[in-house]
Symmetry: C2
Subunit: 334 residues, 2 copies
Amino acid sequence: MPVTIRDVARAAGVSITTVSRAFNGYDDVGPDTRKRILKVAKELNYRPSHVARSLVLQQTQNIGLLISDFNANRGAHHFLFDVMVGVHDRLASMGYDVTLVSTTTARQRLISYIDFCTERRLEGVIVMGMRLDDPYMQEVAEAKLPSVGIDLPILSRYCGYVMTDNVNGAKLGMQHLLGKGYRRIGFVNGTQKAAVSVDRLRGYQLALEAAGLGTDPDLIVHSNFLVEGGEAATEMLLSRVPDLTAIFYASDLMAIGGMRYLHRVGKRIPEDVAVMGYDNVDVGEWSTPALTTVSQRRYEMGLYAADMLIGMLQHDEEPGGRLLPSELVIRQST
Amino acid sequence: MPVTIRDVARAAGVSITTVSRAFNGYDDVGPDTRKRILKVAKELNYRPSHVARSLVLQQTQNIGLLISDFNANRGAHHFLFDVMVGVHDRLASMGYDVTLVSTTTARQRLISYIDFCTERRLEGVIVMGMRLDDPYMQEVAEAKLPSVGIDLPILSRYCGYVMTDNVNGAKLGMQHLLGKGYRRIGFVNGTQKAAVSVDRLRGYQLALEAAGLGTDPDLIVHSNFLVEGGEAATEMLLSRVPDLTAIFYASDLMAIGGMRYLHRVGKRIPEDVAVMGYDNVDVGEWSTPALTTVSQRRYEMGLYAADMLIGMLQHDEEPGGRLLPSELVIRQST
DNA sequence: TTGACAATCCAAAACGTTTTCGGTAATTTA
DNA sequence: TAAATTACCGAAAACGTTTTGGATTGTCAA
């Protein structure tokens, strides 16, 4: 149905070779024939088939954006969307297509996600939202498919990653809190299965050490990055340590949840207890009080992940681990 | 580099025809040879090339998810993400791949987005986030490429849409406000260029009419769906109509912004002025006071859009306009 | 005038599948 | 026993490109 190179060759009275050459800017085609070919092609509305070209060139210019449990991770949009935009922006501008891949799809079809990618001849893949205990993590680590993980620190010949420098980020947040004079600081962490959680915990501990304070296990509780989780965690924390004066949350959403609980029990923020988040999502700006937080450059994470992948694909660069710095965003909750 | 059907055929001592048939479940291949082929294929780690198959079958099983100005529409994630998940969910489960397309990409390459799609032989496309004045709108309306718009009410032989029943949704919201006794109700609408805005305005007016009230143009102001816009619009509205008792916002984000302004100027919500939003995004639950709103079933919108497209592709169904009902979500801001 | 050389062009193979049209051997039917 | 049917398999064409290795002119220098 669609018009092929053969159609324009016939219409222009040349061979398909010449049409192909004219289209790809080769120099051994006469200026008049080239013009004629281009004119005919435009008239016929010819569009070269990307799939035919992919087949003969043995490269699809197509890279996968793998999102772990895309459909189950609602609420993750506060973080994932910007990253996606960054990834797509850079990839698209470099001429790559990006196809959405969810681990759920692979699971449904009972094939490994690597198989899914090789069937489609994806040239590489960017992985987001994956937990350390995800059964597919092993796969991305061992696969020969060039890939870069976001917040997934695995490094191999074919796999790099980009993530925020979470230990320094957490340290930054804690230093701010400590500088304000807070001493009994609770820490509501995310899932232990998330790579970022172990780093943020470490940053929390390092900052306390540096301040000459020990870490009280009672002050630490793990949750799920979401509002409800933060709310529940805060309740537990406060019942365990009634005299705490500040809480550091490993995500803004949990901080929002925490503030909700604190409001409910009549605690003033930050007078009674100070609240600090992590991520710098838009919601934090809108809360009352506005949330002090540690920023993550989500869009740039996507950009750099794409850059790294492109580097591997086009210039055979070694994958690495890239850490992005984070900044303090001071608002009213501390 | 990757192993082909020819490799499998040679290793199994059969022709490629037989391998193909064995893989596609035809019945004219002996049970023992089939088993042997499958075994050999597994050993060799053979994965049929989707692109070769696409070429010969003349169908890619690939559909585009076109997001208008993907990178410029940050902040739209509150709405778009869920829709994307819905679209991908349904499409993936039906065996379709989905590739991300942004109008920015097309603009960069100076080609129409339709050309972009036909080059890749996308079988259809789902369009989101597009304004009525978008230069690409004409294209999707006239193209022969099967497409369905989300919140983009254009109907043609090849183009359907799904959106919320915004006029009834807005009516619902207004009825709630009117039922509570509010009479001077401001309306902060979204961009006039968005299809949903004209419907919501209409719902606002119809509800007023039904209540025997006229519409005061001073009570209506257009903004941009975002928090800052809502904030500014509220200021303007309040300066123009100091005696208003309630404000209906065409998006939750604008309502958040409005509440922020109202707080700042010392107005109590809902005692001094009641606030109602639209969309039912998660942020509305977390605001203080929690936001009364009209829900949109974003995930389902994606699902149904995918359904409609699949119907067109597989069963040659006529595209239509599907309206989803919306519900009132009553919380504390009214 | 002839050889070399540039400027244009084309035929055919290749990419990895699916499918049509047979072909052979074994089995059944008459 | 001959004919017809069935079960299984293969050769080759096709899908729409790119690219290799010439082929055919025309031009220019010797």
